[in-house]
């Protein structure tokens, strides 16, 4: 695991810290988790252009891309051929998920 020191605009820093606090509270490692997730989604979006609105998928193991394909079925097939253990893999899409969405009317707070 590497350590990187960066400088952020004040507004960006505030938004980042607010997001970390909402998602992870004061738990240790929350900041790293949010930044890592954001960077992985960013890498996916810049590395492969979206064609005709279709997504493509990558499988990451310990941060490194081990397979990529246009569909999850094809991705799974590549992983099996390469005999890569699927447990713990991170699957990312060229169409990243939005961090906040409306949950609809079927969800009740538990």
């Amino acid at each position: 695991m590497g350590t990187i020191t960066i400088s952020l605009d004040d507004d960006v820093e505030k938004k980042l810290r607010d997001l970390v606090r909402r998602m992870h509270g004061s738990r240790k490692g929350g900041l790293s988790k949010v930044i890592e997730s954001a960077l992985e989604n960013y890498f996916a979006s810049v590395d492969r252009p979206i064609k005709s609105g279709e997504a493509s998928f990558k499988a990451l193991k310990e941060g490194a891309v081990v397979a990529e394909a246009n569909t999850l079925d094809d991705l799974a097939s590549i992983l099996r051929k390469k005999r890569i253990e699927p447990r713990g893999l991170r699957i990312i899409s060229s169409k990243p998920i939005r961090p906040v969405v409306h949950g609809g009317y079927r969800i009740k707070r538990s």
Partner: protein, 133 residues
Amino acid sequence: MSSYFLDSTPVLEIEIRNPIMNKAFPAEGKVVAVMDTGFEGFLLVPQDIFEKLSLNQLALDERRLILADGQYTQSVGTYGEVVVPNLGVKFDGFIETIKGVEEIVIGTDLIENMKLILDYCTRRIEVEACKKP
């Protein structure tokens, strides 16, 4: 008939798959999912189904869902596949779960792949996959 009204709620019969872990739910047949155009995600499932699909064995992403009362809740999820057997189509998308959800909910990220007509006059639902350009 893959889509119909249960009382006044539009539902769609689907299969849910996790191709990466080679798991499917249900093991045989189809399951009924509620179509909710207020949900902006792809698919929301109860936690036990999430685990039966072994989706919890992949690295999970988190995000926030805004509830109808304006409060927020946290979801976790990863990517999986939804099959609509009667249409002969399948779609890949983000499948997520939260505590307390008791039904399978289809959102607009999945619905946007289909043409959906809800005819409450005749109580019929027409569903077809979008035609590719």
